[in-house]
Symmetry: C2
Subunit: 343 residues, 2 copies
């Protein structure tokens, strides 16, 4: 056996075996190029015989399109982001794009890590994590690489964004809780500097105002279980407790239920209704049966990949809003139960 064949075969090897030129091999692997069916067959046969597949690195160098997409993600311990990442990668692969992943601990890291990503000549960047600085965005824009934010947005030119309709979802939740007959409604915010938490709070409090209900209390839990536990202890330690609590994500809502039950001996939802946001898998577990706002991850990631390819063709940056859906479960009293309790 030729020693060369033990390593990766090159197009020249295939060409020699098939008795054609190297260009013919290249064209046989290119959609819509001029190759006769006969030579194409010869070439493909030789290629499989040698285990040849075109070197994507060299191809990327000459075409100036790497067919790789940078995917920036943080906090995979949040199941929602894990789901987003998985769906995103599957859709990129189906579109013939390879996800080059970048995991970052804090948003600060982003500015130092994204240049490293651009060095790999990615065709675009998908950010499913934190926000990004304006210098970074302009850097990507100058390099002609579209940027798409998922679940966050930022007021910058040349930055696309896909978010759930956080305002609408939170408004629906306000309706649901007020209809349930709750009088002392509290809100538990996520990370204060994220658009998602701010939009959810704005939609929730805004709709409460329209319904002539004042927000009873507010705390912040930084989207984490541990911080949410502390915040909920403060909320439930008051002399007059809230009777409903809307949390900016499900992880915090689950923390709230745990603290309410095990540290304050409360029944959910009889003594306290609890609701969350994201509709993660744990929300449907029988132990919590959590009312939540469902984010349509499929539509969001579809839109994100679409924007990426659109931006690749020079389209203008857009912000796509995906509708939210209220998933009512057993952790909140609904209309009838509320009426019964009042009776």
């Amino acid at each position: 056996m030729n020693p060369k064949s033990s390593l990766n075969a090159r197009s020249i090897d295939v060409a020699r075996l098939a008795g054609v030129s190297r260009s013919a091999v290249s064209r046989a692997f290119t959609e819509g190029a001029y190759v006769s069916g006969e030579t194409r067959a010869k070439i493909l046969k030789a290629a499989t015989q040698l285990g040849y597949s075109p070197n994507a690195i060299a191809r990327g160098l000459i075409t100036r399109r790497s067919r790789m997409v940078g995917v920036v993600v943080a906090d995979l311990s949040n199941p929602f982001y894990a789901r987003v990442l998985e769906a995103t990668c599957l859709k990129l692969q189906e579109a013939g794009l390879a996800p080059l992943m970048l995991s970052c601990r804090r948003s600060q890291d982003l500015d130092s890590l994204v240049p490293q990503l651009l060095a790999y000549q990615v065709d675009g960047v998908l950010i499913a994590a934190s926000t990004l600085s304006s210098t970074l965005a302009s850097q990507c824009a100058r390099a002609g690489r579209p940027v798409v934010l998922i679940n966050r947005y930022v007021n910058l030119d040349a930055v696309n964004a896909v978010t759930c309709d956080n305002v609408g979802g939170a408004r629906a939740m306000a309706d649901h809780l007020v209809q349930g007959g709750h009088k002392r409604i509290a809100f538990l915010a996520g990370l204060e500097d994220t658009s998602s938490s701010r939009d959810r709070e704005r939609g929730f409090v805004g709709r409460l105002g329209e319904l002539k209900v004042a927000l009873f209390a507010r705390e912040s839990g930084n989207y984490t279980y541990a911080d949410a536990c502390s915040a909920v202890r403060r909320l439930l330690g008051r002399r007059l407790r809230p009777d409903a609590l809307f949390c900016a994500n499900d992880t915090m809502a689950i923390a709230a239920i745990d603290i309410a039950r095990h540290e304050f001996g409360l029944e959910v939802p009889a003594d306290l209704s609890v609701a969350g946001y994201d509709n993660i898998e744990a929300a449907s577990w029988k132990g919590y049966d959590l009312t939540s706002v469902d984010q349509d991850v499929d539509r969001m990631t579809d839109a994100a990949v679409g924007l990426l390819q659109n931006g690749d063709k020079g389209g203008k940056p857009r912000h796509i809003l995906v509708p939210a859906r209220l998933e009512k479960r057993g952790s909140t009293r609904d209309v009838r139960a509320g009426a019964m309790r009042r009776a």
Copy 2:
């Protein structure tokens, strides 16, 4: 402004601006190459001025090392794998390697997707999901790319593996449950064709045998919440119920607790002790307080990245076993409670 400068700067641009040759620029960005401090300073200044960073694609083409690593992952809805992925990526990045991600739905997909990964000339492949076929392994080996499996192993040459000491962890759990005074101990298996589930079962049943305790019952839950629910219904629907249940992962253990409490009205651990494996975050939630076997994700991913770099230098394939640690919590009766109950 030069139109060229609006796109990515090349080394030749930096060279011209600094008044040196292109080779000097290349050497200024290479560790340990002959460049005088003076010219290096000139070059770096010109580089920052143009926003230059070396094109990793072109560099990979000439050095024949892409500095990218394929990372194959499946089932990110399992928080354990999400944690593994996050830790792996962070460590690869620290080592100057870029993770090229490949998400696959079933193990069958792997054979068709990994060649696509090899086309990108990855320096190695990390598989944190399913197993891989022997043809695939030999394909990687022939291309000189080290392969490391995480949390699974397979008896093939040229395939490295890092696993938790599943046998040891399961044995410790057997000791714990027997010491707790349990008499009717059941096991809930994961996916039947995975080495992790088989090793955990082997270790658990083996140690029970040494302690002269027969396994009371066995079911399979495919590592998922839904399938575990069905399996646990069968287990608890018997006339004589188990008094302890060891599940091959935490997700199934959580399902078991939910079913026991909400469908059978049982108390955990008074009526039924439940334990899991993985020690995911939800295991520490107050609602479950689940006894589990902790897999040291840090050490496992450290070892995996180490093996990858070792294999890159031509070292022989190895199988590394990372010790497991029993994390006792409130979902299992311990020695004293067991003694009390017997009294």
